[in-house]
């Protein structure tokens, strides 16, 4: 229970106050809510609980409505993706009036950490060979095959999500997990069996807190743009390769991709906001 962990800075949501086999663990804190790792039903089933605490600075009625709306829309969008076969965590339970959403725990780590680790290793090996180590990753070398395959899987996952009518709203490599392959899910080609396994795994898109249902090409292009910018700032050396791979895999996964990519060029020119008012 809560009292067990002295490091608990925040009061737990009521649901987590009830006994469990292991105490809930605070994973991360965002602007709007907190993410805990805990267990669902049985000690053997890990889950993630997203909790949006009441905001004391908002009018209570407005606060309750906003929280409720956001929990419900996140749950709906996750469920829609799950049903359509887009890899996202399953929703286990929700309590919109208490402000929480419980979902499947996704094993593995964020894509961002994996790519950074991979780039670091590449740099180390280049420096060991006497080169500077900050060369642009072209994707042409044999060792780059893992990264190329990963970027293609990202493009395919995003394309699939857009195809079913969901835009994510905050696509970054931190909001994608690399889940170790489950039995029968490994692709038969396009993944390197002999590699170090660092970039192996199934892409699982997480954090649908800003997602919405939309089939507008503008919204989709903005989604891609946000991902592109986030990628460029976290992994600048692989930016070029990223754009090329993302676009080609996105096209393969999603029929309307060419229109979206055309829009993406406009968005790149002007930035994410269409109107100059916000």
């Amino acid at each position: 229970m809560a009292a067990d962990s002295g490091a608990q800075q925040f009061p737990l949501p009521a649901i987590l106050e009830y006994p469990s086999s292991t105490p809930p663990e605070l994973i991360t804190q965002g602007a709007e809510g907190r993410l805990y790792k805990s267990t669902y039903l049985l000690p053997s089933i890990p889950c993630a609980l997203k909790y949006r605490p009441p905001k004391p600075w908002r009018h209570p009625v407005l606060d309750a409505r906003l929280t409720r709306h956001r929990i419900l829309s996140e749950a709906r969008n996750l469920a829609k993706c799950r049903r359509e076969g887009v890899p996202v965590p399953t929703v286990y339970a929700t309590d919109e009036s208490a402000g929480w959403l419980m979902m499947e725990w996704v094993a593995g780590g964020p894509v961002r950490a994996a790519i950074n680790e991979w780039l670091q290793r590449r740099r180390d090996s280049e420096q060991a060979e006497g080169r500077s180590g900050d060369a642009i990753v072209e994707g042409t070398r044999e060792e780059d095959a893992d990264l190329v395959a990963l970027l293609r899987r990202i493009g395919a996952a995003v394309g699939h999500m857009h195809k079913v009518g969901i835009v994510h709203g905050d696509l970054t490599t931190s909001n994608m997990m690399l889940r170790p392959w489950e039995k029968g899910k490994e692709p038969t080609n396009g993944h390197n069996v002999e590699g170090d396994g660092l970039l192996e795994g199934e892409i699982v898109i997480i954090d649908f807190g800003l997602a919405s249902q939309s089939s507008s090409d503008e919204d989709r292009a903005v989604d891609l743009y946000v991902l592109e910018r986030a990628f460029a700032s976290t992994h600048p050396r692989a930016e070029k390769l990223f754009t090329a791979m993302l676009e080609s895999a996105y096209k393969d996964a999603f029929k309307q991709a060419p229109i979206v990519l055309k829009k993406l060029e406009d968005v790149r020119m002007r930035g994410r906001k269409r109107s100059m008012l916000g």
Binding site: A14, L16, T39, T90
Partner: protein
């Protein structure tokens, strides 16, 4: 769980320690019409969640429904008469309560039953941290129910063969046609492309759990 018992007792995660869930499975039940009648008559001695085993694919599905039902009971926002009817409704992916009783609950024709009982024991001066749990209606009137009394009651009144509450036995009783219809799995084309049967079962169970969780959302 003692091995001799027909009841599987589960203490769910993140449920007040005052609440415990007890589950029995009976095959080839001959007196479903009688049990159904007790339910309609609201006979308090027969306050159970009587679930038709055909619509159940896994133990987690049942536990999930129990979790939700206990949660709303504790929160005081039940919309059906008691926590047991709430369990049956929690199995449904839609808000129609009467329909959920017909589809997921016992019918006079049911052969295989999953019977769930939620026991609420009054708080025994433990810590004061959890909010006070309202004592359940069934605890107030009669001498306290225990797993033993429930087991005796079920063995006396359910004319069927008790089997363990495991995914293996539940899997044998599943009517996939109904499950696929009720949980709208027929239109999900990617499911049918999964070759490995274990993976496919797991994915279907996940979609069922998600459907239940999204009820009313």
């Amino acid at each position: 769980m003692s091995t001799s018992s027909i009841l599987e007792t589960v203490q769910l995660e993140h449920i007040p320690s005052t609440h415990s869930v007890h589950i029995a499975v009976f095959r080839d039940v001959e007196n479903a019409a009688f049990l159904h009648q007790q339910l309609l008559a609201r006979n308090p001695d027969f306050e159970y969640a009587l679930i038709d085993a055909g619509v159940i694919t896994s133990s987690l599905q049942v536990l999930s429904a129990a979790f939700r039902a206990i949660n709303v009971q504790v929160a005081g926002t039940m919309r059906t008469p008691n926590v047991h009817s709430e369990i049956v409704w929690s199995l449904s992916p839609n808000n129609n309560i009467a329909e959920s009783y017909r589809r997921y609950g016992i019918t006079p024709e049911s052969r295989d039953l999953i019977i769930v009982k939620v026991l609420v024991t009054p708080l025994v001066s433990s810590s004061s941290s959890p909010p006070a749990v309202e004592t359940d209606s069934d605890a107030s009137a009669k001498p306290l129910l225990t797993p033993q009394t429930i087991e005796e009651h079920l063995l006396t009144h359910v004319k069927g063969r008790p089997v363990p509450f495991t995914d293996l036995t539940l899997g044998e009783l599943t009517d996939w046609g109904r499950v696929r219809k009720y949980y709208k799995l027929n239109g999900v084309s990617w499911l049918d492309k999964i070759k490995d049967p274990a993976t496919k079962d797991k994915e279907m169970n996940m979609l069922i759990m998600s459907g239940m969780a999204l009820r009313g959302v």
